[in-house]
């Protein structure tokens, strides 16, 4: 069990709504971005002198550009339906982690500067100026939101705190007060095509190593092609899949599926990253630039389809935003959705009986499935609403004998975020991440204790990285974390059909 | 939702709220004196049991109060009786109903009493 130097929430018998503890998480600060990263991502390299005016002007601009922001700042009635829905509030008790209170951090500035009531009545209307103190609150608490959208499900008006925290981060970036983790990564993807900054040579080496590895294990020549012009499919995966564990086991799974299906595919060295951190910081331009890079790669390689790997926020960007940001994708085959999720791809093959699967290969695992927040609430798979829940489960049931559901109050549409999404997967935010993971850890613990579950499958690179790091704090081994295609990889029989 | 659809919804919402006002203004005209109920003149007396202004606001109190005393408590011979009203205000349709239909209020008296 990993040792925490802070108090852990009790996850036995589920996570209860805590009593509020004002300021409980105020001490957690992100590392500020360097000048180089701010400049590279199109923001001022240092805090601008008239930062307050610039910030308010940016806020005004964003309210004019985003219906969501304008409307959400106005219509909250503070009913409190969201107050106990955020995993960070449940894990920390800090009232500023209640979605409504997080929004209030921006709303009080909005009232002061953009409404009659706030200007007239000030404190009585809880209107506040954008002071250094308020800015510090923004820096802290808008980086304790993983933009998971759970609050928006329960809001009578569909207010999505993610929209507010994205706008807040865009405002902070625009005055030169950005977060190191996200901006560094965005700078890397602009430079190298992936978040990890992997150069092409290293990528080639990794893929060759994987080919040998799989050959050794299976005796089959499963290919991991790079930059292969004219391939049918371009496969875009989160770059963590190339190097991290357990991510890489899912990468092997994708490759085996393509091999078994006999469909040619290729990775791209120009766009070797599916994740799009531009959304985390609400930056339309950065999100667009990253998405466009992928579209360009597909066009250059002359592929007919784009299939995407296991990644949550990235899939939301791809599913919901790509067509707007980098479309139209008229160079691709119209018969396939753009993008196609690897789960859609695999499940369709399973339904056509095109894969030979040996479920018993996964008999050592009793598997449950974690719905990643942005897949669940920001995307769809298949043609029916809710396909994003059913399709990965269909795959798991086809590759495992023992499959168990977690409490639907903590999963599916109401799924709890892993606690590391939205640009929080950074060491200095570890306390927030560990505490924010409590509700999901509790749901997992329940099926581990009562139904013998030992594996939680998922389709998100951040979820995988986060859970392997934080679950040990709750006495859950990191080996419990698996990718869906990792289990596919175990079950799939090559050289058969 | 596209901008046209949104604008249509915005206009519909405002129109819905304004509808009763517009309907009344259109149906009754602008800059004309608002309609008022025309009442038949009382016969047999020149003064009511109480001042007219007070009666306008409070007549129902007398009627229900008296009803409770007379019907439920069996007390007879009170000062105000509905037959008394009818002595002067002889025609319900030209007196009671005028104001009641003007204000959209249904009197309870005639659930039991018959007044021509």
């Amino acid at each position: 069990m990993a040792k925490a130097d802070f108090e852990l929430p009790n996850i036995e018998n589920g996570v209860r709504v805590p009593a509020i503890k004002p300021g409980a998480m105020a001490h957690v600060k992100y590392h500020p971005a360097s000048e180089a990263h701010l400049s590279k991502t199109g923001f001022p390299a240092n805090r601008v002198d008239n930062w307050k005016e610039v910030a308010l002007a940016k806020m005004n601009e964003l309210m004019g550009k985003y219906k969501s922001l304008q409307l959400f700042l106005d219509v909250c009635v503070k009913c409190g339906a969201c107050a106990d829905k955020c995993h960070y509030f449940l894990g920390t008790g800090d009232p500023n982690n209640m979605p409504v209170a997080r929004q209030e951090l921006m709303r009080k500035v909005y009232r002061k500067n953009f409404t009659v009531g706030g200007a007239l009545f000030g404190g009585l209307a809880r209107a506040e100026d954008l002071t250094e103190e308020v800015l510090q609150e923004w820096m802290t608490y808008f980086h304790q939101c993983s933009q998971c959208r759970r609050c928006s499900v329960f809001c009578p008006f569909g207010i999505d705190t993610a929209e507010i925290s994205m706008a807040a981060r865009e405002i902070m970036d625009s005055i030169g007060a950005g977060q190191k983790y996200t901006l560094e990564i965005i700078a890397k993807v602009h430079d190298t095509g992936n978040n990890l900054g992997i150069p092409k040579n290293a990528l080639i080496g990794t893929l060759e190593f994987l080919e040998e590895d799989v050959k050794e294990a299976t005796g089959v020549d499963v290919k991991f092609p790079l930059d292969q012009k004219g391939a049918e499919v371009m496969l875009i995966v989160p770059s963590a899949d190339f190097f991290s564990s357990p991510h890489v086991d899912s990468l092997v799974g994708y490759a085996k599926v393509f091999h078994a299906a006999g469909i040619s595919y290729t990775f791209s060295s120009h766009a070797s990253e599916f994740a799009n951190f531009g959304m985390f910081i609400g930056s339309y331009d950065n999100t667009k630039k990253i998405a466009t890079r992928i579209a360009d790669a597909g066009r250059d390689l002359g592929v007919k389809r784009i299939v995407v790997g296991e990644c949550g926020h990235a899939y939301r960007v791809a599913y919901s935003f790509w067509n707007t940001l980098a479309g139209p994708f008229d160079f691709l085959d119209k018969n396939y959705p753009v993008p196609t999720h690897i789960c859609e791809f695999t499940e369709e093959l399973i339904r056509r009986n095109a894969l030979t699967l040996d479920k018993s290969a996964n008999d050592e695992f009793t598997v449950t499935y974690h719905d990643s927040c942005n897949v669940a609430r920001g995307s769809r798979m298949g043609t029916e609403p809710g396909g994003q829940f059913e399709i990965p489960r269909n795959i798991l049931k086809a590759v495992c004998n023992k499959y168990v559901e977690m409490d639907p109050e903590s999963n599916r549409e109401k799924t709890f975020c892993c606690g590391g999404g939205g640009g929080l997967l950074s060491d200095e935010l570890l306390e927030v991440r560990v505490k924010g993971a409590a509700p999901k850890a509790a749901a997992l613990k329940e099926v581990m204790d009562n139904q013998g579950v030992n594996t939680m499958a998922m389709i998100c690179a951040i979820c995988k990285a986060q859970f392997t790091k934080v679950l040990p704090y709750y006495d859950i081994p990191m080996e419990a974390v698996a990718g869906v295609h990792q289990l596919v990889s175990n079950a799939i029989q090559l050289g058969g059909k | 939702m596209n901008a046209k659809g949104s604008i249509a919804i915005a206009i519909t919402l405002v129109a819905l709220i304004a509808a009763p006002l517009l309907y009344t203004a259109a149906g009754n005209g602008l800059f004309t004196k608002p309609p008022a109920p025309q009442l038949a003149k009382a016969v047999n007396a020149t003064e009511c049991v109480e001042p007219a202004g007070w009666m306008r606001a409070n007549h129902m109190n007398l009627l229900t109060h008296q009803r409770d005393l007379i019907v439920r408590e069996g007390e007879r011979g009170r000062k105000y009786r509905i037959e008394g009203c009818a002595t002067c205000h002889t025609k319900r349709a030209e007196f009671c109903d005028r104001c009641h239909s003007y204000a959209g209020a249904k009197p309870e008296c005639f659930d039991c009493h018959y007044l021509p």
């Binding site: 329960f154 008006f157 940001l325 | -």
Partner: protein, 242 residues
């Protein structure tokens, strides 16, 4: 407006000013919600994949507060009861603004009166709720209490008008019709009515500049009104079209 009593003159001017502020503010706000673009499709999924489906799901949510029900049953009970009762009370008051009065409005009076009688209950409940739970107390500002108290006072003064201090309803209706027909007549100088009417004017003037705009905003929420079809139909961002 000549020949009006000073009190009536003041209230006629106030009424017109409030009406202008109310409709002007409402139009301004709704216009903003309507024309501000959605650069990206941000439907909260699972969501209907067709426009028709979205319309149905929004009608259901607006008519039943289904997402609040999902969020918190106790808040739903108070909030939903309040809104239904408010609707009944509105219906009850329409007879004072319409001439002639539609028969249906006469028919529903007893139900609407029941509503008026009950109105204070959910308001007191909603007030108590804000005090009783630490999370709600933390997020509640003076403005949140102000609206509830204002509505409560409006309800109580209305009940006072009905049950304690009767006023000349015909005179009141004439006054209101006169305002609507741009031909003001004297207001019955009845204290209970003046209080009730003043509070309502306050509420109307406050409405467009407050959280009460949720009543209009709920129709425009992008997470709820956007169709989940971004792969099938390219959503074009109006301000990024290059």
């Amino acid at each position: 407006m000549s020949g009006l009593s000073p009190l009536s003159l003041v209230y006629a001017v106030l009424s017109y000013a409030v009406t202008a502020v109310f409709f002007g503010g409402l139009l301004h706000k709704l216009w903003g919600y309507a024309v501000t673009p959605n650069p990206l499709n941000i439907a909260t999924t699972p969501a209907p994949a067709t426009r028709g489906g979205v319309i149905v799901s929004n009608i259901v949510n607006i008519a039943t507060f289904s997402s609040l029900f999902k969020g918190n049953r106790w808040t739903w009970i108070g909030g939903y009861a309040f809104h239904v009762i408010l609707l009944a009370v509105f219906a009850r008051h329409l007879r004072l603004f319409l001439h002639p009065v539609p028969p249906l409005l006469v028919l529903i009076q007893p139900v609407a009166l029941l509503g008026a009688l009950l109105l204070p209950l959910p308001l007191i409940y909603l007030l108590a709720r804000r005090k009783a739970v630490d999370r709600y107390a933390w997020i509640s500002s003076p403005a949140d209490y102000f609206v509830l108290v204002l509505l409560l006072l409006i309800g109580l003064s209305g009940l006072g008008l009905k049950f304690v201090s009767h006023s000349d309803m015909v005179g009141i209706k004439q006054f209101l019709l006169g305002l609507v027909m741009a031909s003001p007549v004297d207001m019955p100088p009845h204290p209970a009515f003046i209080i009730h009417f003043t509070l309502v004017l306050m509420l109307a003037a406050y409405f467009p500049f407050s959280k009460l705009m949720h009543a209009g905003g709920v129709f425009f929420s992008p997470t709820r009104t956007m169709v989940d079809d971004p792969r099938e139909r390219r959503h074009v961002n109006p301000w990024a079209a290059k």
